[in-house]
Each structure stands twice: as C-alpha cells, then as structure tokens.
C-alpha cells in the first residue's frame, strides 16, 4: 500500500505488473512526477501506459547503477533494434532525461558510420521513392555525398528489388 507519505511509489505497467519504486526513482520520470503533483494526496497506484515490465526492469537497473556512480556500465547491447526502439519510446513517454540521452546515443551508435544501404536494411526502412524521385534527391544533395568513406550503397538497393 502506498501513500504519499511513504517512500515508495507504486507503478503499474501495461502488462499489469506492479512495481514499488523509491520516490527518488519516480522523480526521474517527469511524467510520473507530474501525475503525483496533480493528484490529491492519496494516490495509490500510477498506471504507466506504453511501459512494460521488462522496460521497468531495465529502468531500475539503470537507476541502481547511476546511484552507485556506475551509469557507464549500463548497456543495451543485448537488445535488438525493435526492443531498443520500444524501450526508447517507453523512456520518452516517461520523460526520463538522462536515460533518454543514453538510449538515443545507443541508437545513434548503431547507425553511425554505416552506409545508407546498410541502415535501410538493418532497420527495415522501406524505400518509398520512385526511381525518378530517388535520383532527384540524390542529385540535390550530391554536394554532401561526394568524397567520403560513407558512400551510399546503391548496389544493395538494387539487390533488394
């Protein structure tokens, strides 16, 4: 049972699991904090939509590491791209600044230095350009594409089709 005077806040994830978390952790979730502040004194349970229990597990891991000054040890390497995307959305929903930065950096790291063809395949982005449109946009931004090691790989595009 949680009341506003205790140190624990109850959060209910989308899959129905209830987590009792320290007030300090709840404070890092600006969305939750706003709910607490707006509600009256006797809020027992805060539902957090779009957040699943496996997200909460990772959030708690991150929180414990950062309290111990070891936030750099937190890793999302084991997550595949879908899982990372979902986690990023959950953290974005909860409005958790630090963890959000960590996750966007993680996604950026997965994208950096990869060719466009690779990025498209890896993240499953559908090319909705017609060949003419594609040629036009390539030509328009040609000044940016020349003379560098990250050459957009057209060959991969052609193989897909």
């Amino acid at each position: 049972m949680a009341s506003s005077s205790s140190n624990l806040i109850s959060l209910k994830t989308s899959d129905g699991t209830v987590f009792k978390v320290e007030r300090a952790l709840a404070k890092t979730m600006k969305t939750v904090q706003a709910i607490i502040e707006e509600a009256d004194a006797n809020i027992y349970m805060i539902p957090i939509h779009n957040v699943f229990s496996h997200h909460m597990d990772m959030i708690i891991d991150y929180y414990k590491l950062s309290v111990a000054g070891k936030s750099k040890e937190f890793s999302v390497e084991k997550l595949d791209n879908d899982e990372l995307k979902d986690f990023l959305l959950a953290v974005h929903y909860l409005n958790m600044e630090d963890l959000f930065e960590v996750l966007t950096q993680a996604v950026a790291d997965r994208l950096e230095k990869k060719s466009v063809g690779y990025v498209r395949k890896y993240f499953g982005i559908e090319n909705d350009f017609t060949p003419e449109e594609y040629a036009a946009i390539r030509k328009k931004n040609d000044w940016a594409f020349k003379g560098d090691d990250i050459e957009p790989e057209e060959d991969e595009e052609k193989q897909e089709e």
């Binding site: 879908d82 990025v119 499953g124 982005i125 090319n127 946009i137 940016a144």
Partner: protein, 376 residues
C-alpha cells in the same frame, strides 16, 4: 526471429522529435545521407539543432577551404530562403544549439589554423560548443554572447590577444562544463593581464578541465567547481594566494610535487577524490614536504578525502612519491583507497615502504596499477 512483418519500419516508428534527437549524435555529413532513406526522412536532418563536423583529413589549406565550403553549404541548405552564400548569419538563423567543429591539420606546425567564422561567435542559441584548431581574432565585448551555453570545449586554439579569450569566457554566464587544452595567444601577454578577469562570473561552472595552457588562467573564477583537472606549470607563480577556496570541489586532478600538492589541498576543504599525476617536463625540481605541523594539515585530509591516486613517472624520484603517499596516509582519517600507478620494477620498493606504514584510516586499502612510466 522476430514475429514482425518484414516490411516493418523499425526505426521510423519513432516520432520526428526523437529521430532528430538521434541524428544530433551523428556527424552532420552522415545525417545528411539519411535524406535518401525514404520520403519521411528527406527533411529530417534539417531540423536537427546540432551541427557536428569532424574532419580528420585536412592535409593542406586546400582541404581546409573545401571543408569550409562544406560547412557553408550545410548551413545554406538548412535555410533555403537565404540567397546569400555568406556564412554570416546562417548559423544564427538556423537556431543551432549544438556545434562541434573539429579540424585536425596533420602538420600543425606548418599550417596556420583557419579563422573561425564570425557567425559562430554570434550564435546565441548555442548550448554546446566544441572547437578544435581555429584562429580567433577579435572578440568584441558582448556580455550576453552565449546566454544558453553550458558546455565549452576548446582545443588547439589560437587567440589574437588574451583579452579576446577572456571576453569569450565572460560571455558565458551559465557555463557548466569547461575544457581547455593548448590555448595560445599570438600577441604577448603578461601574467597580470588575466587578473581583471578573476571576478569573471563562471558562477555556475561545475566542471573545469585545463591542460597544456601555459598562461595564468584566472583560477579564482573557478571557485564554484565540483570537478577540477588542472595542470600547473613552472611560470605559475600564483600559489598559494592566487587560488581561491573551492567550496564545492569534490574531485581534483592536479600535477604534483609534494609541497605544491599540500598547498593546493589547503584550498579544497570538501575534497573526496584526489588524483595526483606526473609533473610537466618544465616543472620544478622535486620539493619535499618540509613541515609536518598539525596546522598545515589540510582540512580535507582529516575529514573528507576518501580516495587518492598517485601516478608515478620516469622523472619522479621514488623518495618524493613515497613521501607524498605516506603524508597522505598518515593524515587522511577517512581514506578508503590509496592507489599507486607505477611499473613493476619500482612497485616492490614502493610497496614495502607503504604497506607497513601506519595509516590514519582503519579502512584504508592500498592498491597498485601497473603502467609504463613513459606514458603521460
């Protein structure tokens, strides 16, 4: 195998603002490539409030010119309504918050760094500014130059006069993180030229990292920092009076000789972590702790210091290192770890002297890390 449909667009399922945020961590050149991913991505890179240029291959002034042209083209294409090709005003119009401009000229001693575009200095929306290898000529007095700037990282920068550099710092009232290395001034200066900037309001500064800067940086302006890494050098005649009391300082990394280290500690009453690393090649000869008064024992040693690291170097004498380590171990009442970085050869002598030395703190652990003494 994922149960999602093959055509699922995983990353594009994120809202625009998140995608822009992700792109802000990627070098601008690559961010522009995303414009050909799909229709949705055509214009996304333009809304990224960050410009991030890292070019590691500048071998000639022609390369530098080419790079400048690239920067201009990026700024220009972000705002098509401007017909002018001038780099002036473009940075300001783009409402840029994060700007990283890192150039690496391969033969630095033979090339002159390019002049920093003036528009960068009038980009008032900047929150993070990181520059490497530029020449800055005149900086006009402009108190609210960077009203939102929180992080400033300057490396390999040439300023015309020291006043220009100080005026730049003066224009950053909310600065929290400052990193300076290899800052040079074209015109000669005297040490008191910096004194007028000692009351410079870097009041919100939390972290300062100042290395390879052979001038009298106004240390008093750093009085509120929590983390300080600073390299003292031979011509630095400011100790002890030139140092303020660092009321918030919990982590200090400084080069040492014994006496100097103790003097600096006097100014750090709340210090928890201390890193002592090798002195510069232009440093003083070894000086030893001369007095062992209770009066001279810095407050942080008796009440707050919990970790200490001392790094050995090829020109450090064992005697001075051991003296410093034993002084700290003798006085530091709440010390938890004393770590010595040295090579295996010197390790045994250091260990034999230190491990049996009486420690003021019952919980103090001694540990060693092995390094090459020639590494700085």
């Amino acid at each position: 195998m994922s149960h999602h449909k093959l055509a699922t667009d995983r990353i594009s399922g994120l809202p625009d603002e998140i995608l822009c945020h992700i792109l802000s961590f990627i070098p601008t050149k690559q961010a522009i490539f995303t414009s050909i991913l799909s229709k949705r991505w055509i214009h996304l890179w333009r809304h990224v409030p960050a410009l991030y240029f890292i070019n590691k291959k500048l071998n000639s002034s022609q390369d530098i010119h080419h790079f400048n042209q690239f920067v201009k083209a990026v700024l220009h294409s972000r705002d098509n309504s401007l017909s002018s090709h001038s780099i002036n005003n473009l940075a300001v119009q783009s409402k840029i918050q994060y700007l990283h401009l890192y150039l690496h000229a391969r033969l630095k001693c033979e090339t002159i760094p390019p002049k920093l575009p003036a528009s960068i200095l009038s980009c008032t929306t900047l929150v993070v500014l990181k520059l490497s290898w530029f020449y800055v000529d005149k900086v006009s007095p402009f108190p609210l130059r960077f009203p939102s700037l929180k992080t400033l990282d300057l490396k390999d920068m040439n300023f015309d006069k020291c006043q220009d550099f100080m005026l730049l710092l003066d224009g950053c009232p909310v600065l929290e993180d400052l990193q300076l290395s290899y800052i040079h001034f074209i015109q000669s200066f005297r040490h008191f030229d910096f004194e007028q900037f000692e009351n410079s309001s870097l009041r919100k500064l939390k972290r300062a990292h100042i290395t390879d800067c052979y001038f009298h940086f106004p240390v008093k302006a750093l009085a509120n920092v929590e983390f300080l890494r600073v390299e003292l050098w031979k011509g630095y005649t400011y100790l002890p009076d030139g140092f303020p009391t660092f009321h918030n300082l919990t982590h200090l990394a400084v080069n040492y000789d014994c006496n100097l280290a103790v003097q600096v500690l006097q100014h750090c009453p709340k210090l928890r972590n201390l890193e002592l690393y090798p002195k510069l090649k232009y440093a003083w000869r070894d000086e030893y702790i001369t007095k062992d008064d209770e009066e001279l024992v810095p407050i942080c040693l008796s009440s707050s210091l919990t970790t200490c690291t001392i790094r050995d170097f090829v020109s450090t004498t064992l005697e001075s290192l051991i003296m410093l380590a034993t002084f700290i171990m003798k006085k530091a009442r709440v010390l938890k770890t004393m770590t010595i970085w040295s090579n295996r050869k010197r390790f045994s002598e250091i260990e034999s002297k230190l491990s049996s030395f009486p420690r003021a703190s019952a919980t103090c652990q001694l540990s060693f890390q092995f390094i090459n003494l020639y590494d700085t």
